[in-house]
Amino acid sequence: MTCTEFLALLDDLIDDSISAEMRAELEQHLHKCGHCEVVFNTTRKTIEIYRSHEIYDMPTGLRERLHAAIMARCKNGC
């Protein structure tokens, strides 16, 4: 397996949407190729970091304003 072939299947490996045979082949490549191992590990880490850190805090009072707006519509319509 070449690095290009590995990269083409990188997402499937990360998302675990491949067959056991294909996974074994990709893991075999990882074992031999330090560069692909770094790309694989750091890509996985990239996703994990974005998933676990809140980068946009919700403004305070936004929920209350939304609630008031919904109640106003409700009085008009329901």
Binding site: C3, H35, I49, H53, A69
Partner: protein, 223 residues
Amino acid sequence: MTTIQSVAGELEPHPDVALVERVRGGDVSAYDTLVRKYERQIFRISQHITQNREDAEDVMQDAFLKAYEKLDQFQGNSKFYTWLVRIAVNESLMRLRKRRTGKMVSIDEDLETEEGTVPRDLADWAPDPEQNYNQAELAEILRKTIQGLPQGFRVVFALRDVEGLSTEETAETLGLSIPAVKSRLLRARLQLRERLSRYFRRKTGAKETGPGEMGRGEMRVEK
């Protein structure tokens, strides 16, 4: 098996379905529950697309209000959440159009770049790279980095990887084909990885092991 039950959708309806029914029956407090459940996600998605805090606030409000008003049109054949996300994505794009008057805005712009298709920075990262920064610094790095992605990549990454929509749901929400979502996701992930490497790479001198496997040969990647 639970997976089979939820796929069938009959034995175990999604809890949102009951909430939507209550709202339809006139119970506004049930809608508050739905708002509390999804407000953060909707606000984040709006921020990712509009890149503007005020716009994101407006979009969040408008999306929830619109969803409330159109609740009768919600068919229940998709999840309430993905239906809501679709409304928020459309509202966000409309907001962008208003800002850039006259200029068409779509999620397809700026995709010509080849950046990120071939990994260039092959340095390994520090074991827990986030710990080298405080929370505010880290949030700034992550914001700056994702804001540098082309819109069409950023929104796919945000929906698929941050908000956890499936490939199919992301495709449906954005009106893209599944292969398009997959190719954008790969490029988004690789571009973000490349850009974050600048901050997270293992500092030289702090190496625990020698170059080992890393020294062997170049990455063989054809364009």
